[in-house]
């Protein structure tokens, strides 16, 4: 007759799978509730100044890096596409290719990844430290809703900043492509700009903004959530905050790419 211990070890893979699935569902539910509560609280009183502060931090603070990345992305795109299209005799199409690639895909995705790296990680670390140093408990004892005070302004600021930064990225990326294709490689300026004008439609731009909005919700929710619940981790203190920050950046980047595919397939 088998002992109880043997029975447990026989069923343990299934139990493990079950526990993992339940934990995932639990986590997703918790994330959804966290987002919904944070989002609703955006519209409460006394939020405006805190949202402006966060827009400044997430938006204005990320501008330089977005301009830099946008410029070089556009330039390298111009360079690569030039050599491909020259072989096919279609260098006149370079403006179209650069603009569509940036507006539809690279702009929203790279902007979201750059903001995740710069502002998202800082969000997680800041909220995480506030959690472990009892600042969030202090808010609760002062009857200040910590979700309203800490999370809602960040969600709102991300919703405002992501599309704006994406627009800046798009514009700078197209300028970068112009620099490498027209200024450095001698493609006709009129052809470059004219093709962009004729081939880029409003739908391309609005689809890019839809993606930027989706990424804003994903990044801000994940980063705030990871920081806010740092204390639930098995690692405590500074180590816990470090792990939360890494998780926030990794999960956000992976979800940006997955959701990009999903959103694109719906929008196409």
């Amino acid at each position: 007759m088998k002992s109880l211990g043997q029975k447990i070890s026989f069923t343990s893979p299934l139990a493990f799978l079950g526990r993992t699935v339940v934990a995932w569902v639990d986590e997703l539910g918790s994330l959804a509730v966290f987002f919904a509560r944070g989002f609703i609280l955006i519209f409460r009183r006394k939020q405006f100044s805190m949202i402006v502060q966060q827009v400044y931090y997430i938006g204005a603070g990320s501008m330089n890096i977005i301009i830099l990345v946008g410029l070089f992305t556009g330039m390298v795109l111009g360079l690569q596409l030039y050599y491909v299209l020259v072989k096919l005799g279609g260098e006149g199409m370079i403006g179209t290719a650069v603009a569509l690639a940036i507006i539809r895909e690279l702009g929203p995705v790279l902007t979201a990844i750059m903001i995740t790296a710069r502002a998202g990680s800082a969000m997680t670390a800041e909220i995480g430290i506030q959690r472990i140093s009892e600042q969030i408990d202090a808010l609760d004892t002062m009857r200040i809703n910590s979700l309203r005070y800490l999370i809602s302004p960040r969600l709102a600021a991300a919703i405002i900043s992501f599309p704006l930064l994406t627009a800046i990225f798009d514009l700078i990326g197209i300028i970068g492509g112009y620099v490498s294709a027209v200024v450095l490689l001698g493609v006709d300026s009129g052809a470059y700009l004219g093709r962009i004008q004729t081939s880029v439609g409003m739908k391309d731009i609005s689809n890019g903004f839809v993606k930027a909005l989706v990424f804003a919700l994903i990044v801000s929710t994940i980063c705030c959530y990871q920081g806010y619940f740092t204390h639930r981790r098995s690692q405590r203190g500074a180590k816990g905050v470090g792990v939360s920050t890494t998780s926030a950046v990794v999960i956000s980047c992976v979800l940006i790419l997955i959701s990009d595919y999903v959103v694109t397939s719906f929008l196409m």
């Binding site: 006394k46 800041e126 506030q130 140093s133 009892e134 600042q135 408990d137 202090a138 609760d140 004892t141 002062m142 009857r143 200040i144 005070y149």
Partner: protein
């Protein structure tokens, strides 16, 4: 006895397999200063967090004015929480906000006060806490002691009904420690809030506490006033409480009460039962008035200097200890009552001629020259029989007190 303000009924708290609170029963009364003593890691902070609703019991219930908290609706719970303020052990200040903004935060976020009114209240509190010069600094730029005062200011800014203090004096020097305790006691009397405090500052907390609760092995093993604690027969008393009370009183440099009692008992064993010994009790009159004029730190410096003066003057003739926030007791083991009277007359003259001026000058060293203050010292002498309860003899001496010295100044350096 009056009805409990807050009551724990068999409250148990477990984190996983660990039981932190084990069927805790306690009562906290309105308007009292209640101090919770216990070894590190015994769940004192956990207990405090249960009171304010940051944690919920695994078993048992907490009652507020007889009503279980768990049965309160959202509005009642909000009203309940609005009564409290909490001073965290590590201050929990927002490092991205200045001192001023930290203190203003609860008013900005939970009231409809105008910016001007908030500014007025915060400025007043900042002045009270002697933080004017630090108001626009960030917490990271302040010392631990200053951070504690900022946290205290933030806890008191909403004029709460109940204030919970989680080790408010940790990391403070003796003067600051007594300043904070004095500040708590003073504000508690002024505003009448109920104080629940975790502290290990023995004997200082005994001077301001109405009730002491001792948490041991997850249970409350003692609830009562500080005098009742003297008669408690529990391993915790020898193991922990007596070890906290050092050889000397940190503030005054006089003997600690424990050491004083040991010396007194040693002396008593060598005497005949019918022998008597004189006991003098000194009081700094108007400590609260002094705090108002001089600041809490300045008032504590006066106590400290007086302790130093008493210690130096009596030398080997008397054994002295501090028995209250503003009271010192001296026994004269080898002196008759007449001799003790003469010694005290000499002490009074010396105190009036030199002592008070020196105390004032020492105290004034950090006070702006425009500030002026006055204080007086009273003394009473009583005779006690060998073996008689020293607290009783002290009370007799206190009841006979007369003013022996008074200090007044017009401005700094112009003492009279």
């Amino acid at each position: 006895m009056e009805n409990a303000f807050i009551e724990f009924e068999d409250v148990t708290k477990r984190f996983g397999e660990r039981t932190i609170l084990d069927r805790v029963n306690l009562k906290i009364y309105d308007g009292h200063v209640t101090t919770i003593i216990g070894k590190s890691g015994t769940g004192k902070s956990v207990l405090l967090k249960h009171i304010i609703g940051l944690l919920a019991p695994t078993e048992g219930r907490i009652l507020f004015r007889g009503k279980p908290i768990e049965e309160m609706n959202k509005r009642e719970l909000n009203d309940y929480k609005s009564l409290f303020s909490y001073l965290f052990q590590d201050n929990a200040l927002f490092d991205s906000l200045t001192v001023f903004e930290n203190i203003a935060l609860p008013l900005q976020q939970t009231t409809n006060m105008s910016t001007k009114e908030i500014e007025r209240r915060v400025t007043e509190k900042v002045d009270q806490m002697e933080l004017s010069e630090e108001a626009h600094k960030y917490p990271a730029e302040l010392s631990g002691g200053m951070q504690k005062r900022v946290a205290l200011a933030r806890a008191l800014i909403t004029n709460p009904k109940v204030v919970l203090f989680d080790e408010p004096t940790t990391g403070q020097d003796p003067i600051r420690k007594n300043t904070i305790l004095n500040l708590i006691a003073h504000n508690q009397r002024r505003f009448g809030f109920t104080t629940i405090m975790i502290s290990h500052d023995i004997p200082d907390i005994f001077f301001i506490s109405d009730r002491i609760l001792i948490l041991y092995d997850g249970r409350i093993v003692f609830q009562g006033n500080p005098e009742e604690l003297d008669h408690l027969d529990h391993p915790m008393v020898d193991e922990f409480i007596k070890s906290l009370e050092g050889f000397q009183d940190e503030l005054t440099g006089l003997y600690s009460k424990k050491n004083f009692m040991r010396l007194y008992e040693q002396d008593v064993t060598h005497r005949e039962p019918d022998e008597t010994l004189p006991v003098a009790a000194f009081t700094v009159e108007g400590l609260d008035f002094l705090s108002k004029n001089l600041g809490d730190t300045g008032a504590q410096e006066v106590i400290q200097s007086l302790g130093g003066f008493v210690n130096t003057y009596f030398g080997d003739v008397g054994i002295s200890t501090r028995i209250g926030r503003d009271q010192i007791v001296t026994i004269f083991p080898h002196t008759t009552l007449d001799e003790a009277e003469r010694i005290l007359e000499g002490f009074g003259r010396e105190l009036q001629e030199h002592g008070l001026r020196d105390i004032a000058l020492e105290t004034q060293s950090e006070i702006p020259s425009s500030d002026c203050f006055a204080f007086s010292v009273s003394v009473g002498l009583a005779e006690g029989k060998v073996g008689e309860d020293l607290d009783l003899i002290s009370r007799k001496a206190i009841s006979k007190q007369k003013t022996i010295g008074r200090f007044e100044c017009q401005k700094r350096g112009n003492a009279g």
